[in-house]
Subunit: 313 residues, 4 copies
């Protein structure tokens, strides 16, 4: 008899493999990206440059820009020296090292279009290279403008999920619960949630990885102003019915959460995902209330309570 009931062939649908999981390998990373490695194409064929530049962290992004800026100026500095440093009016450097830096700073002043003019190009070759460099500079910073806007306007959400997923009495049964909150002032509306469970099981004598939906008591809300607690009632139809924590651990359970919302402030549809592993499940625990009315009767939402769990009994 299989471990859980009501199996549905969700493998294709969620884009996962049906091979059994070894070494506690998760399907989704905590940030919701699929835990997959990609190979077999030369790096330049992936054509992810824009996506990468837009999705990488800020410090890395500025580092990339700084490095490109230095490299391009070095390249042009070398070019101006090859043409002849004497064509840079006002460059005073006597040693090759000083002459390189004169050309380097002239290049920086050209590509950024500052153009103080205490160093200026003379002669056809140097002038045409400088004219080309200033055009390139404007294009490069046009690109930077696009990238910066792309980074800011990207439909990202800052939905924060509770660290744990708890199992506790719910109405007259047990319920599996986690909760989430919006870290931004953006209004999130028409929020929909889907929950799945995946684990190893033996089917026809073969070890397999199976995927089942976990029905939510409420899978859609209109507006997310406060926090939202997702509840999967563990009734007879649930794959988790009458399972112990030991059962769950042995089957290498992973619980997948898929969220879809409309960001009212920027008119964009947002998708976000996360997953919980066995160690994130707490038995007989419930979440502490996250909001209260202050002395003026106004509702106060306290983000510091998001992960606050009260273990019962």
């Amino acid at each position: 008899m299989p471990f859980f009931k009501r199996k549905i062939q969700f493998n294709d649908d969620l884009g996962f493999s049906s091979n059994p999981v070894v070494k506690n390998q998760r399907a989704l990373n905590v940030d919701g990206t699929p835990n997959i490695e990609r190979t077999g194409l030369p790096w330049f064929k992936f054509d992810d440059t824009y996506t990468k530049l837009v999705t990488m962290g800020w410090s890395r992004f500025f580092l990339v820009i700084l490095i490109v800026y230095l490299l391009v100026n070095t390249l042009f500095a070398v070019t101006y020296n090859i043409i002849g440093i004497e064509h840079l009016n006002g460059a005073m450097g006597k040693t090759p090292r000083d002459q390189f830096f004169d050309a380097f700073f002239f290049s920086a002043q050209t590509i950024s279009t500052v153009g103080y003019g205490h160093i200026s190009p003379q002669g056809f070759m140097t002038s045409i290279v400088a004219a080309f460099e200033s055009m390139l500079g404007l294009l490069a910073f046009a690109l930077a403008t696009g990238l910066l806007y792309g980074r800011f306007s990207r439909p990202t959400s800052k939905v924060s999920f509770s660290k744990n997923i708890v199992i506790s009495p719910y109405q007259d049964k047990m319920g599996l619960m986690c909760r989430l909150v919006n870290l931004r002032r953006n209004s999130l509306i028409e929020i929909e949630a889907q929950m799945y469970i995946t684990f190893n099981e033996i089917v026809d004598g073969k070890s397999k990885r199976s995927y089942y939906p976990l029905l939510l008591e409420r899978d859609k809300i209109s507006v997310l102003s406060l926090n939202w607690t997702l509840v999967h009632p563990i009734n007879e139809d649930s794959p988790l019915f009458e399972k112990t924590l030991a059962d769950i651990k042995q089957a290498q359970v992973e619980i997948i959460l898929i969220l879809k919302a409309f960001d009212d402030t920027f008119s964009q549809t947002i998708h976000t995902r996360t997953s919980y592993q066995e160690d994130d499940i707490k038995m007989n625990a419930r979440f502490e209330m996250m909001y209260y009315h202050n002395s003026e009767g106004k509702i106060v939402l306290d983000y510091s309570k998001l992960d606050s769990v009260i273990v019962e009994g």
Copy 2:
């Protein structure tokens, strides 16, 4: 017996609390934002910088830019002075104050890429700082470009709601009516409206805040060219049936209006909300017609009549 009929559990759905309201605390502000305070996270964790810069008022936005501009230039002015003011060719200042301002204006000319050149950098350190500053300047204004575009292209609406919501005879019964108009030349199409009512009531001996939908006679129109009057017929199914103004005031009624539309000009879905409190309700009043045909037969929409209410009998 509860005060109103046909209660529906809309608390979760609208993201509001079910605690009774004290001191006339509203659920939604007039501009449609939830009347909620947020706490419990260090300020930098909210990550609302972009949202804030895009949604704040224009004068505050320009003030922020001006202050940042002054601060950054001050910072670089200090840096140039530390390296040594003698490395700024053409800087004539004798006193520390004048030397600071020489460096300050050189910094401004560098970061804005004006670069007149009557002051110019000399020596490695000053030149490299200036090269860095000009790059920073271009990035900063790339950012400003993105922010300005973000501010303009944001899916905002200028739907204006009538100041009052009136109750007056409608067909053979009474009706609750408010109206709205588009202040922009943008075409709004496929406009949908939802109306809710919330008030305090005693359920099972406990004071609670309840939420009910108010059915509209017509909740969707194709195009908003003129004004649109929303009508909730107060029939036997309405929570407002046979209620007096005194009943309404005592229950601390708030009427919530949620509007969704498609902005044809910018291809964006727009959501807007507002709410009316008891004091905004006028009994036995009706709205004055907002448009007329001029002498050429053309329809003229007169915005000044939006709030114009005729109190009857």
Copy 3:
């Protein structure tokens, strides 16, 4: 008996008035905008600045930019002269007129961040104004960047409608037909069309403007690669059934066409509208085929035939 059958109350829905039309006043202009005048608000309250700048014609747009550029430079030129032209190093003008232009060109060189430097600021006041002006310049052109991008990326369509709408035999009855074509290389997919008719009629002894839908034989296509001919079959259910051209003219008929499509190239939903008046209706005419196979078997779409109508018998 009313002039037409199967009347539906579309007045609200299309956002039009139900007053009868005099002097051949149309509901929609040919470009699809509602033929409505707006009044009653101070001009600055309409808050249409961005919409206007983005939707106005190109020549007017550049004129606005040029005028603003000249005005701002004039303002700063006056300011520099008030502070004292002697604080502009290198300004040679002797007459007030020459001094104004020296300051004007210095201003232009500052706001555009060219900063040649043959004229340069001296003293605190002039330097601080110049620093402010260069910041303003960068912001202004950041704004221009946003506006230009907003203009280009706006979800506009270049769907062209046939000049005439024809009535000719269709299958075993008559049909009302017009056709359309995409002037751009953008792929338009999932195109939907709706047709309405509006005219004066006497209802209960009162002259009114009525609106009816005209059912289309096919109101949706997947892809618009060639041309699309819209056909309203004039059967017994049609308001046009057994009507003569004289009947149509007398009732001051206007036929309204609403089109919705998805622009595949820019991932935007596009709406466009047009309307035909009585004079645009041609009886017993049919459209000439718009495409043919060339000698290589490739399909050629000939845009010049869009309005080409063959009048029969």
Copy 4:
């Protein structure tokens, strides 16, 4: 008897002609664009400039910018020479050729707002032209910024389709299969596919081009993390039932694939199309598995296997 069964009138819907195909002319190009030529309008009426600049290849795009840059500078160089080269302070050229280049480089320094200042404008006419040119320069690069952002943020996909479409045993029948993979790190979700077949057939003694849908075993998946194999089961309802490769070749078959997906990273709906011709069909071949588990249990997707086909028996 017609060649295939269950014909549906998809001609209109897919926007194709029903004329029979000669010389192996395809309906869709491999990149999914319709194989149609357009004529009959003056070139400037197509108004595709923005679309063209945004969709053309990168090298062509930069070439266009370079050429425009050179042309505009040439134009201004000529203008400055006409006004009089003596109004360019610091221009040393003696020959007309040198004077042209002095003006050309001054123009480049002005339009890019570098403004070194070793050449500077003198006199009203030259100064006003330079002021205008610097404004134009900023506008032009504002335009470039918009174009670059438009190019990057365009909803393009890099879905790669297998080179061949194979026919091989599937369950207890035959199946027509091709597969696809996402070359980008963008998350594609809610992916839908439609497959059509088109070929020549004789209907009522006339040769025609017909279009039929090919039902897919699964036409929608939630997430595309790995590869997706599309399967059309060739059962009795399929137009391909009991057809040989010779039958298929004779009828000049083209198989059309339409894909729709939501790009989670940029919140955009993406459409992509492709088509296979008879030569792309392989009989009794099946696709090699594209992913495996590495030694750590992590799934590895190997793009190099996309086209890897194993011919059986």
